[in-house]
Amino acid sequence: MSAQGAEVRGAVVPGAGAARQGTLVGAASADGSPAGATRTMTYLQAITDALRVEMRRDERVLVLGEDVGAFGGAFKATEGLFDEFGADRVQDTPIAEAAIIGTSVGAALAGLRPVCEVQFADFVATGFDQLVNVAGKMHWRTGLAVPMVLRLPSGGGFAGGPFHSQNPEAWFMHAPGLKVLAPSTPADAKGLLAAAIRDHNPVCFLEHKHLYRRVKGEVPLGEHVEPFVARTVVAGDELTIVAYGAMLHLAVEAAARFEPGRVEVLDLRSLVPLDEDAILASVRRTGRVLIVDEANETCAAGAQVAALVADRAFSDLDGPVRRLAAPDVPIPFSPGLEEAVLPTADRIAEAARELLAY
């Protein structure tokens, strides 16, 4: 998979929407690293780097969650932050997701910028109410901004089983007032997380656990933010594969099995706001679309993309709007079962082949 990661980095080709991409802040950054400098980082390191850079830059930023302090978090995403910023800004909390989210809302209302971690994204269900009813609805109801980020280590692929493999993003998409981001590369993980921290709204940040240590890439040093838009990762004319998070890498791998220029791969990166223009522009050009979700199929993000395309790109479609997603069962533990359930590059390629032949 790190090979796939490399492939993705190597394959970034200008396409629809590309003009809107890239680093917004290019000047020398808070930690003095020269503009334009990069370093190879894992996806996980990029997340830590974003937290560190933003915490240095803005003293209102604080981190809270279970075991995120001296221990550095279950996945070590906050490693080193406690030493640098101390117990006030890197807070271990009791096991209480509603309070983690709810006190973050309060801290945000009082002028801080909390970044809270749910140890596994699956546990967000225990704090769901604070997220959807308090954080999500606040600004529209009252005009009060809730600048906070909820970091959600999500996704499967490593025998995590039914409670450590979920991709809950569609729940958030169906809750007005929450932004939803899902990076696939280290540079995006950093840039989107930094941008989320600077955003004035509650942002659900889906970090894919299976990418944490398996994907490496060049990441800009110092300040680096990415806009909440899609990115064309592979350019093509005959079929658009829409993906995000871990699925993006499989989509790129699948696309590479076809002649160059046939299959386009679009990395959504942001699910709310959804870059409808980029999706429609690509599909209108290729005329065929395959949408890949790691989440359970029904009412997933991909359903929304499919509905969008089926409405607004209908007249340009040369074939059915196809989806590939996890079937509607919990994610199984035993690796063979898990592989049977999660989309694979093989299955993506097969679906692509079918569509191209339509």
Binding site: A96, T103, G106, V134, R141, T142, L144, H200
Partner: protein, 388 residues
């Protein structure tokens, strides 16, 4: 709305005779007992006391008008009132300084909004679904707060805003500010898990939060006997914080315990849970005839009406109670008239403002009418318009 009271020597220490005969049993049925009057009671001038009365009368009068407007079909949705509980929001909010926040006044806490100085016309516009600065018609009934006055409006889910209040208090503590967050909720709201998580965070980290639990004996139709085994104040110890029972129909007692809880929080000693015992005198909302409540119980509590009692006391102390009522009524009439003349919000704007696009504006300072506060320093930056 209430002018800053003049500092007059009129200490009015709480006297045992104002604490009614106690029964340790839980309401409904039991007459509450104030078991923790702070030893160093804060001073209330006669003007303060008049202000307290005026605020309670203001709440009662507003809510009576609200019920009428609702029954006339002018108020969409629902209407809730805190008839008989006025002493709690008024007494508690009166103990707050201008930088303190309330997060949030709940279903029976109209008086807290009045103490903070939220514009009455805006409140009525809000209730009527007219265009207004508090909610722009997006919210109704008790769901409002004026951020310009340091008040964050409630959500329905109980007691979510308590959790949020703990987070605000945490921010104050981290920034070493001398401020507290005060939160209100009913005794029924102690059952959801969110209550426990908030209590635990607050007690463990000694957050400067003042917790006012209004035990009015009922949660909708459910009596406390079907809600919990142990009254809220007794449960505070499980979180390492003091629990105080106060007569919720005694505005000065509520003021005194809240004042003490605030002082404690400002000292860095952490939260206090105040259980103000009272009785819900009306239905859950105006749609509810509360047939399930024993009329004898209501009758008994009617004799302890917080306004009637206080009015009698203040009349004895020389306050012109009729003038207070007249002032309140005049303001209310004007506000209702202005509100009724206000158009409905423009439907074209129904979906705007989902996202915050500008740098957030800090909460403003609330009115702090108690004479114990020094002359107010100048106002900081203004709070944002709702939904803009």
């Amino acid at each position: 709305m209430i002018g800053r009271a003049v500092l007059v020597e009129d200490p009015h220490p709480p006297t045992p005779d104002r604490a009614p005969d106690a029964a340790s049993e839980h309401p409904p049925g039991a007459v509450p007992r104030t078991d923790d009057r702070p030893s160093t009671a804060p001073r209330l001038t006669l003007a303060d006391r008049e202000a307290l009365l005026e605020l309670m009368v203001g709440m009662r009068t507003f809510e009576e008008r609200g019920v009428a407007l609702y029954k006339q079909g002018r108020t969409p949705g629902s209407f809730y009132d805190g008839h008989g509980q006025e002493a709690i929001p008024v007494g508690a909010a009166f103990a707050l300084g201008p930088d303190d926040v309330i997060c949030s006044p709940l279903i029976r806490d109209m008086g807290a909004h009045l103490v903070r100085g939220t514009d009455l016309t805006e409140i009525i516009r809000h209730h009527l679904g007219r265009d207004n600065r508090l909610s722009r018609g997006r919210e109704g009934n008790v769901h409002f707060g004026d951020p310009r006055k340091g008040v964050v409006g409630m959500v329905s889910m109980l007691p979510d805003m308590f959790v949020v209040a703990v987070g605000m208090a945490m921010a104050f503590r981290l920034r070493r500010e001398r401020r507290v967050a005060l939160t209100f909720f009913g005794e029924g709201a102690t059952s959801p898990g969110a209550w426990h998580e908030a209590m635990n965070f607050a007690g463990l980290r000694k957050e400067p939060v003042v917790i006012v639990c209004e035990n009015n004996g009922l949660a909708y139709s459910t009596p406390t006997s079907a809600q919990f085994a142990v009254p809220p104040a007794e449960r505070a110890a499980a979180y390492g914080m003091p629990g105080v029972v106060v007569d919720g129909n005694d505005v000065e007692a509520v003021f005194a315990v809240t004042h003490a809880a605030r002082e404690r929080a400002l000292r860095g000693d952490g939260p206090t849970l105040i259980e103000a015992r009272t009785m819900r005198m009306h239905g859950h909302g105006s749609h509810d005839d509360a047939r399930y409540v024993d009329p004898a119980l209501l009758e008994a509590w009617r004799g302890r009406d917080p306004i009637a009692t206080y009015e009698a006391t203040l009349r004895g102390a020389g306050v012109d109670v009729d003038a207070v009522r007249a002032r309140v009524l005049e303001r209310l009439d004007a506000a209702v008239e202005a509100a009724l003349a206000t158009p409905l919000p423009d439907p074209a704007g129904a979906t705007d403002g989902l996202w915050a696009t500008d740098e957030p504006v800090p909460l403003g300072r609330g009115d702090a009418p108690w004479s114990g506060f020094a002359p107010a320093p100048p106002e900081p930056a203004a709070a944002p318009e709702a939904g803009r």
